[in-house]
């Protein structure tokens, strides 16, 4: 059994989904799709699953198809788990009802062999104890495991998983991979898995890298890394253009004479690809801020902050302090309470317990907050920009909302546009912008009033590797030049390394709080932050 994808292009109405994709997969192989949001992974997965029509041809099990109708006879042998946590589950049905429902709609014979297989799946997913629980009441990780075993129930020979691990806690992520590993070995299933996490590439037999609706490279992880090995150098190395410098690495197209201590990651392929296509992003320079500093060292001090929604405790006695000129990373899985915490700091949710001091003042009334609004900047998870107003208009609006005189506002917008490199996009509408530019201009809108504290809620999720690297450079610049304090949440473990201090959260509670060096000192056997993170979840 083989899957061959030949010159496949997918269009959503007039928008290109993926262009000219070619690859092959053999029985029992795990093929990984890696790339940022909107790079074309989902489009290709949907075409292979036969839920959207495509150009070109897909051959699976000697059957060729390009439209949904042609794919129909194969659907009993294909399993698709689309993107989104618990997307295919019905909140009101219990775990065992789901299994029965999925077995029934695939018209499976429910004999003893089926029961044995079902029990095995339930055990693998660790759900046998929760069979009577409704899906809406499962955690994100459990939902994903349930979705996976529901997809596996009819023993598909081709398994398509669209970002099954995004936003899932690290332990569940490992368990998901264990289930996959076992299934592909015992059933010989071809697995196509998309992910935004480069680290998961190690578990895949073959990797396809996606960027801007194209597959830019494919092969085994080792082979791909080999192609860029000689192109990665330490950030300090002198280099002639073209090259891209990030906080950790310098990428170039021509091998340099100096020695490199870098072990390249797959991210390097995206940088090299950008260099090859001459798509470097405009560099960032930041001038000094106009306002004077806040004097005092501790900018934010939360003691025992608690937030309840009914009987559910979203934040339980969380103590966090944030010092001047510090980047504090708030890490945890979806639903760990990161966003709730930031919303309490901002006053978007009332505080149910504990004490909050911002810039040395205790916050009790909304008036206290009002006085401090001018010192706080915030970028939300989904950039809160108005899509029908141009970038310039958006920024002017935010400035006037902050009570900035329009002369100052115009002058600052002009300066930020130059410094953050979105000058050419000032008259464009936000949906037309690349995600990375959108992110910069969201940040600019939060910086217009020159805050001393910046709260960033998952500003980098879904953004491509290059834009992410540059975003972190900008944050570092802000920290050094403006002495600004930054609280940032992220679910990319690799980004933790850029923070000065990291707080780990789990189920609403703080489980660890230390500097990066401190974490590595406590866990000397760990190589990456991901491994440290896992220690706390076991």
């Amino acid at each position: 059994m083989r899957l061959v994808v030949r010159d496949v292009s997918v269009f959503h109405k007039n928008r290109l989904g993926i262009a000219h994709a070619n690859f092959e997969a053999n029985e029992g192989e795990i093929v990984g799709f890696i790339g940022a949001d909107g790079a074309g992974k989902s489009s290709l997965i949907h075409a292979i699953a036969g839920v959207i029509a495509c150009k070109g041809e897909i051959v699976f099990d000697n059957h060729t198809y390009r439209s949904c109708k042609e794919a129909e006879p194969l659907k009993a042998r294909i399993g698709l788990m689309p993107q989104g946590i618990g997307l295919v589950l019905y909140d009101m049905l219990t775990v065992s009802e789901h299994l029965r429902f999925f077995a029934d709609i695939h018209d499976l014979v429910q004999n003893e062999a089926f029961e044995t297989y079902k029990t095995r799946l339930l055990q693998m997913a660790g759900l046998e104890k929760f069979q009577d629980r409704q899906a809406g009441k499962l955690s994100g990780g459990m939902m994903q495991k349930l979705s996976l075993i529901c997809t596996l129930l009819h023993r598909p020979k081709l398994l398509l998983l669209d970002e099954p691990t995004t936003g899932v806690d690290p332990l569940s992520r490992i368990e998901l991979w264990e289930i996959l590993e076992e299934i592909r070995r015992s059933e010989g299933t071809i697995c196509l898995i998309s992910t935004a996490y480069m680290q998961e590439a190690a578990k895949m037999d073959k990797i396809l890298l996606f960027d801007e609706q194209k597959i830019i490279a494919q092969g085994t992880s080792e082979a791909l890394l080999q192609t860029v090995e000689s192109l990665c150098y330490d950030p300090g190395t002198p280099c002639v253009e073209p090259c891209i410098k990030t906080l950790q690495t310098l990428y170039t197209l021509t091998p340099l004479a100096s020695k490199s201590t870098q072990t390249p990651t797959l991210e390097a392929l995206f940088f090299v690809n950008a260099l090859k296509n001459d798509k470097t992003m405009p560099p960032i320079v930041l001038s000094d801020k106009e306002k004077s500093d806040f004097d005092g060292d501790v900018l934010m001090d939360a003691k025992g902050l608690t937030k309840r929604f009914g009987t559910f405790v979203a934040n339980d006695n969380v103590d966090i302090t944030l010092k001047k000129g510090e980047i504090l990373g708030l890490l945890g899985a979806n639903g760990a309470g990161k966003t709730t915490f930031i919303k309490m700091l901002l006053g978007l949710y009332p505080i149910d317990g504990g004490e909050l001091r911002l810039l040395g003042k205790t916050i009790q009334t909304p008036q206290d907050r009002q006085a401090l609004k001018a010192s706080i900047g915030y970028v939300s998870q989904h950039f809160a920009l108005y899509n029908d107003m141009s970038v310039q208009e958006n920024l002017l609006y935010f400035a006037s909302m902050r009570g900035l005189p329009s002369e100052t506002a115009k002058e600052r917008i002009k300066r930020y546009a130059q410094e953050l490199g979105f000058e050419n996009y000032l008259n464009a509408l936000p949906p037309e912008l690349p995600l990375g530019i959108n992110q910069r201009f969201s940040l600019a809108s939060a910086l217009l009033h020159e805050p001393v504290i910046l709260f960033l809620d998952e500003p980098t999720s879904g953004v491509d590797a290059i834009a992410r690297a540059q975003f972190w450079e900008l944050l570092k610049c802000l920290k050094e030049k403006w002495k600004i304090a930054i609280l940032i949440t992220t679910h990319y473990m690799s980004e933790a390394e850029f923070c000065d201090r990291v707080v780990l959260m789990r189920q609403g509670a703080k489980i660890a709080d230390d500097t990066i060096e401190g974490f590595y000192a406590k866990h000397p056997q760990a190589h990456t932050f991901e491994e440290i993170f896992l220690e706390y979840f076991r």
Partner: protein, 373 residues
């Protein structure tokens, strides 16, 4: 079509409807609409506040006033006032009618001379105004013939009206409105539920279970529509009980005809819901669109407010396009007339309903796509 697959889906839908408490809406909404509208719509006018100014103060003028006082359609307020004061009362919405009996009313009558009575009616609501106006005319005519009889001896041969009403003898509003409301409710409620069930899966993302599995389009449609069909079939009986026991609407036709026509009508409503769910993506849009598509024609062309036969031009064609008219004809027949299948028109309309249902269902399954868009 594999029945076991459909059964699994239907069971899932039913347990979701029950667990999400949607079931309450399924049974509460039709009843609520029937009760609220059944009491809320009133066509006839009783107890119009009437101000009578009697400048004559004679025997005959009092006889005329008595006629008004004895009618259930009028409540006589005060009998002596200035004319300008009386008109002021209409302006301040304290009276609906002002009747002015001139001086020498009796004298002129006895001399066989022409007399004019002044009548002022508040016609801010034209329908109510014209109803009151015709009542006033009736009472005055009635009084006139009584007076004439008295003057010309007992056996005067004047024209007397001997009227009999048919089908709604008591001329009760309930009898006229409640059957029409059943036609409205059974168009809206099943359509909303059917639209919700499909769009809900689109909005949540569970529609992928249909797209990516071997489930056929027919199986999916059957799975979605069968639960709605059965749940609302019960409403056919519930609404019948409300109409006959609560609102005391007579039922003169065949119950079988009522039942079968209602089930056919239900299929039409379901198909409308299905068509809407194909073009919408979110539940809220689906509900709003269903309400617009069903309530407006349901009300306008049901014959509740206006008989279809009195419509002209475009509105008449429109009325024939929507299914409400055909079903309501059968409804009024089974409740008030009782002619049943003996009427060729009823036979034709039943056939049209069946055809309508099949057509919409076919159209829906044709344009429902098993693919992402």
């Amino acid at each position: 079509m594999k029945l076991s697959v459909v059964k699994a889906y239907v069971l899932k839908e039913l347990s979701e409807i029950v667990r999400s408490r949607l079931i309450i809406m399924v049974y509460l909404m039709p009843t609520m609409v029937l009760v609220l509208f059944g009491y809320g719509i009133r066509m006839e006018v009783t107890g119009a506040r009437t101000l009578i100014i009697d400048y004559d103060q004679s025997h005959y003028s009092r006889l005329l006033i008595e006629k008004f006082a004895h009618s259930k359609y009028f409540t006589v307020q005060k009998e002596l006032r200035l004319e300008s004061e009386a008109l002021d009362a209409i302006h301040r919405a304290q009276s609906d009618v002002v009747i002015i009996i001139p001086e020498s009313f009796e004298k002129r009558l006895l001399h066989g001379q022409k007399i004019q009575i002044g009548v002022f009616v508040d016609t801010a609501f034209p329908m109510r105004g014209s109803t009151i106006e015709s009542y006033v005319k009736g009472v005055v005519l009635n009084a006139a013939s009584a007076i004439q009889e008295r003057m010309l001896d007992r056996d005067a041969h004047t024209i007397a009206i001997n009227q009999r009403t048919l089908f709604n003898q008591a001329m009760r509003d309930e009898d006229a409105i409640v059957p029409g409301l059943i036609g409205l409710v059974l168009l809206i409620a099943p359509a909303i539920l059917a639209a919700l069930l499909i769009v809900k899966e689109k909005e949540k993302g569970t529609i992928f279970n249909f797209y990516a599995s071997a489930l056929s389009k027919a199986e999916f449609i059957a799975a979605k529509l069968i639960p709605v069909f059965f749940l609302h079939s019960i409403n056919i009986f519930i609404l019948f009980l409300w109409a006959t026991y609560w609102f005391d609407v007579p039922f003169r036709g065949s119950f079988w005809l009522y039942w079968i026509a209602s089930e056919l009508y239900l299929v039409i409503s379901l198909s409308i819901g299905m068509l809407i769910s194909i073009v919408t993506r979110t539940q809220i849009v689906a509900v709003v669109l269903t309400v617009i598509v069903t309530i407006i024609p349901g009300f306008l062309y049901s014959g509740i407010l206006m008989p279809i036969s009195s419509m002209v031009g475009f509105s008449r064609y429109e009325a024939h396009i929507f299914p409400v008219m055909y079903y309501n004809h059968i409804l009024y027949d089974v409740f008030l007339v009782g002619e049943g299948l003996a009427s060729a028109k009823t036979q034709l309309y039943l056939f049209i309903l069946a055809f309508y249902g099949l057509f919409l269902m076919g159209l829906g399954s044709l344009i429902l796509k098993k693919e992402l868009r």
